[in-house]
């Protein structure tokens, strides 16, 4: 149940950070989120719907997100997700840890290339 911060799966963690960062710009619904991440990563990243929705619910439970009833661009009823204060704090903390991780990994990879 409780998440063990010392043992994190890279991918779910990354997905969450990307969702948080995307929603920081503006609240979105699920489809828009997938689109946004795809475009922002220049098609390098494709979010699987099968992972997206469970992740959204987990984040709602943690209180990082909030959802409200809304209308999609096409006029269909949907749920719009937006970042909460707690989500913002979590995002900032995670960004630092991710950056450290990337830096570290880059150094290690550079080292082994020698």
């Amino acid at each position: 149940m409780a998440k063990n911060p010392n043992h994190r799966d890279l991918f779910p963690g990354a997905l969450e950070v990307m969702i948080l960062q995307s929603l920081r710009a503006k609240p979105m619904h699920g489809y828009a989120l997938v689109k946004h991440i795809k475009q922002a990563s220049d098609n390098l990243l494709q979010v699987e719907e099968g992972s997206l929705y469970p992740a959204l619910q987990r984040m709602l439970r943690e209180g990082w997100l909030d959802s409200e009833a809304g209308i999609s661009a096409k006029g269909r009823p949907t749920r719009i997700y937006k970042l909460t204060e707690a989500g913002l704090r979590h995002l900032e903390k995670e960004m630092v840890s991710f950056e450290n991780m990337f830096t570290g990994m880059a150094r290690v990879l550079a080292f082994s290339r020698l």
């Binding site: 149940m1 619904h29 699920g30 489809y31 997938v34 719907e49 099968g50 929705y53 469970p54 959204l56 619910q57 987990r58 709602l60 439970r61 959802s67 009833a69 999609s72 661009a73 096409k74 269909r76 009823p77 949907t78 749920r79």
Partner: protein, 897 residues
């Protein structure tokens, strides 16, 4: 806490998920059609990308679920459904549990309220009952609890001690209240300053007594109990300051004590201040209940030492009158023997209660063993299913959990029913109100009892659930999926756990039956004791008290009591009437003092202290107490104050060798008092109950020259308990007539303590009969349960071995020998159970030592009879299924498969 709202808002969350996903799919389809696909293709493509939408929704929902809990709930629902499918089994188990746990809970509630909970006074652990020991006063051993304090002792102790915060004495008494409606006899306590301070319960109205109320020449005051205030004054708050007539004296009500306030374990109506007149106090009498509140942190031992230091001070400060030796009591070797007030209140009931608790606990164990047996049969039936599930990959833990959840569900449901049973049981108990159970009014089902019920439910659930689980887990490796087990008789291992259960049951049943039989033998022994009176059901008793203020002159008191006897005798249907200071088993001892036998030398030793009673002519006749030698008092003896006494047979034997030899001999109380002639010898009377030795008793005439006054003064017992022999004893008709008879003599005399001798006799047996009934019920249940257990095991074994029986029969085995084969296996289990049981019983009956009477705790009759009964019953229980199996046609049996 966040769990609960989450559960409530979950449905909305689930809808949100569905809406989001639906919209997502629709938008994706839109996107793909815009890219040029047909709607059909787009939809297929989208579905492929999404994969299993239901699974996705489920995964998303799981974020909101407590997975473990939810799956347990599923198991629970499954368990409930399965239990509902076998109502017979479920009802049996639930009923067994409800009764078992219910009985345990109610008995524990009693133990908790009576023995464990502190008394209902603030910081009650610091309240001590003040008692003394006097090993040097021979005969004093007859006092069950020791020596009480005297008023002079109280004053010395209260004024000079260093260890008590407060201290007080009181004497339970009765009072005639007149002037408020009909004259009424009420229970009163005459209390000194310090009693209420020690108990520390503030009055609900008015004030406590203070030292000034104690002044014999000051204003007369009184306090009311809550009950009396409600009953007599309708709870009128203006009662403070009101005047009432108590024993023909005007007293002002100064306070009302709150509801539920009792003096130790005694109810009362009135509190009166103890008017201590220092000028007239002597060393004796040792009449008073005493309590004290210890200073914080002072242990009893220190307080004992403190009071011991003050005993010489007491003897220096007071005397027993001119010419007496104030240090006389040094011979008594008095030492303080303080005890917690709680111990005083509880008395020796603890023993009975723990025995009853142990008993119902054992029944519970037996019941659990039976349920475990049933569970094993059920598990046997599900063996196939469980095996298949295990083969399909269900984990051991998962299956074990399911079995345990089923048994825990049963346990908890049983527990809920049990609380109902316990509640009913306690209501019944308080309604019946077994005599001599202290603190009965405080008995209730509190959190601790409910906790016990819950704990028992869970523990029993785990216990009888774990047995099939262990069997399943252990047996799994060897599981075969084939239903037809070709082994002729299912292996011994399958039977072993059931056999262990049966052995346990037999052992426990033996313990209970031994206890029950011991109590039955005790009861029979008690019934066999001739109490010293006859035909108790036809003896009506009641008491009157004639206060000084009503009739001052002792001879007039005697005349009044005599007139009452005459009036009562005139009632139709009354064959005899008499009165005495106390009747047997009423809990009163009119007096105790020394008695000197003429011609006997007491050099250097103290004459033993004897029980005194003061009787009217005809008292022995009405009671049916046989006069072994000599004659009864006559009215002429009484009015002429003839120096005569009647003694009990045991006293006559001890002093003069035989009853006949006693007549004409002389005794006296003190060296300065005149000799009294023994005119009669009465048979021994068990005045303290059939289980107590009959004490030596000196019967004085109801009117005599008091030995306690410096000059001869006529003294009459103002407290008289009248006894009427009539077929109508206990009927309101007789009581009305008796009341009229008393009022015809004096309209200001109320009747009190209205009881038949049968009631007194039953009350004195209450402890034994209560224990007996409880143990007999428990023993009966234990016997029945363990017989069912034996029957079940043997029938199951028989069913398992039907094929084997068929083969044996076909090969020519004798039916008798086959019967014997099964009975023998049952007897082997029973024998083992009996062996264990005997060992346990031999140890446990030591607990009952104080409860048995007239027999040894290791009573040979009991210890032979019970194993015999059990063996016979077990043989019968196993013979029945064996006969059924053997009577089957062997060909049928063999063809069956």
């Amino acid at each position: 806490m966040r769990m609960l709202p989450r559960l409530f808002f979950r449905r909305r969350r689930y809808d949100d998920i569905s809406v989001s996903i639906r919209e997502h799919i629709a938008e994706r389809i839109d996107e793909l059609t815009e890219e040029g696909m047909t709607f059909r293709e787009a939809e297929q493509q989208t579905r492929r990308e999404f994969g299993n939408v239901t699974l996705m929704e489920q995964r998303s929902r799981e974020a909101w679920q407590w997975a473990a809990l939810e799956s347990i709930l599923t198991d629970l629902r499954f368990a409930l459904r399965r239990l509902g499918n076998s109502p017979g089994f479920t009802a049996t188990v639930l009923l067994t549990l409800a009764i078992g746990i219910g009985a345990n809970t109610s008995v524990f509630s009693v133990i908790n309220s009576v023995l464990l909970k502190p008394l209902p006074y603030p910081d009650s652990g610091r309240i001590a009952a003040l008692w003394l020991d006097a090993p040097g006063a021979s005969g004093l051993a007859n006092f069950s609890s020791g020596l009480q304090m005297s008023p002079s002792m109280y004053l010395t102790f209260a004024e000079h001690n260093h260890t008590f915060q407060s201290m007080g004495i009181w004497v339970p008494s009765t009072a005639n209240v007149t002037g408020v409606g009909q004259p009424e006899w009420v229970q009163s306590d005459v209390i000194s300053d310090g009693v209420l301070q020690t108990l520390d319960i503030p009055p609900v109205l008015g004030r406590w007594f203070t030292r000034t109320d104690q002044d014999p020449h000051g204003a007369k005051t009184a306090m009311l109990s809550y009950g009396y205030w409600q009953r007599r004054f309708g709870g009128d708050r203006s009662v403070i300051g009101r005047a009432i007539q108590v024993d023909a004296e005007t007293r002002t009500v100064v306070g009302v004590m709150p509801r539920g306030f009792r003096m130790g374990d005694q109810d009362f109506d009135l509190l009166l201040p103890y008017a201590l007149d220092r000028a007239h106090l002597k060393l004796a009498p040792f009449c008073c209940n005493s309590i004290g509140r210890l200073k914080p942190g002072v242990p009893l031992a220190l307080a004992n030492a403190d009071l011991a230091r003050l005993l010489p001070v007491w003897m220096d400060s007071w005397s027993n009158g001119p010419g007496t030796n104030p240090h006389y009591y040094e011979r008594w070797r008095i030492t303080p023997n303080l005890r917690p007030l709680k111990q005083q209140v509880i008395g020796n009931i603890g023993n009975v209660l723990w025995v009853v608790m142990a008993t119902v606990g054992l029944v519970m164990l037996i019941a659990c063993a039976n349920i475990a047996n049933l569970m094993l049969v059920r598990a046997e039936a599900r063996h196939q299913e469980l095996t298949i599930r295990a083969a399909l990959g269900a984990g051991r833990a998962r299956i074990a959990r399911e079995l345990l959840i089923e048994s825990l569900t049963l346990g908890l449901l049983g527990g809920i029913l049990a609380v109902g049973v316990a509640y009913g049981g306690l209501r019944l108990l308080t309604a019946i109100g077994p005599a001599d159970l202290p603190r009965l009014s405080e008995v209730s089902l509190d959190a601790r009892s409910l906790g016990l019920a819950f704990m028992l439910s869970v523990l029993s659930g785990l216990f009888f659930g774990s047995i099939p689980v262990l069997r399943f887990v252990r047996g799994r490796s060897g599981i075969t999926m084939s239903q037809t087990n070709r082994t002729a008789s299912a292996g011994r291992t399958r039977q072993r756990s059931r056999s262990v259960l049966v052995i346990t049951q037999v052992a426990l049943a033996l313990v209970l039956l031994v206890s029950a039989l011991l109590m039955i033998r005790t009861f029979a022994a008690l019934r066999g004791v001739r109490p010293g009176f006859t035909d108790a059901a036809h003896l009506q008793t009641f008491s009157t008290w004639i206060p000084d203020q009503l009739i001052g002159d002792s001879r007039m008191v005697m005349r009044t009591e005599n007139n009452i006897v005459d009036q009562l005798t005139a009632i139709p249907g009354v064959s005899a009437v008499g009165f005495a200071g106390a009747v047997p088993m009423d809990g009163n001892d009119p007096n105790w003092d020394q008695i000197l036998v003429e011609g006997k030398s007491y050099e250097g030793t103290e004459p033993p202290i004897r029980l005194f009673n003061y009787v009217s002519p005809g008292y022995f006749n009405v009671m049916g107490t046989h006069l072994v030698a000599g004659r009864d008092f006559t009215w002429a003896d009484i009015y002429n104050l003839r120096p005569e006494v009647i003694v009990s047979e045991n006293f006559a034997r001890e002093s003069w060798g035989s009853a006949a030899a006693a007549v004409g001999k002389r005794v006296r109380q003190f060296t300065k008092t005149p000799w009294q002639e023994v005119i009669g010898v009465a048979e021994d009377v068990h005045v303290h109950g059939a289980d107590e030795e009959a004490p030596a008793i000196i019967y004085w005439p109801a009117m005599l020259y008091s030995p306690y006054t410096p000059t001869p003064t006529v003294s009459t017992s103002r407290y008289a308990t009248f006894v009427l022999r009539s077929d109508q004893a206990g009927t309101s008709g007789l009581l009305n007539r008796a009341q009229q008879a008393v009022w015809a003599v004096n309209p200001n005399l109320p009747m009190a303590s209205i009881r038949t001798m049968q009631e007194l006799y039953d009350k004195s047996m209450a402890r034994t009969s209560f224990t007996l009934v409880m143990l007999a019920i428990a023993g009966g249940m234990a016997l029945a349960l363990s017989l069912i257990g034996i029957y079940g095991v043997i029938s199951f074994a028989v069913t398992q071995r039907t094929r084997e029986i068929g083969i044996r029969l076909a090969l020519g085995a004798q039916k008798n020998r086959l019967h014997w084969m099964f009975v023998r296996s049952a007897l082997r289990l029973t024998g083992l159970g009996i062996a264990f049981g005997l060992a346990a019983a031999g140890f446990l009956v030591q607990l009952m030592k104080t409860l048995v009477f007239g027999i040894h705790p290791l009573d040979p009759v009991t210890f032979i009879a019970v194993p015999f009964i059990l063996t016979t019953a077990a043989a019968l229980a196993s013979y029945l299924p064996a006969r059924r199996a053997v009577s089957v046609d062997p060909v049928q049996t063999l063809r069956a498969e």
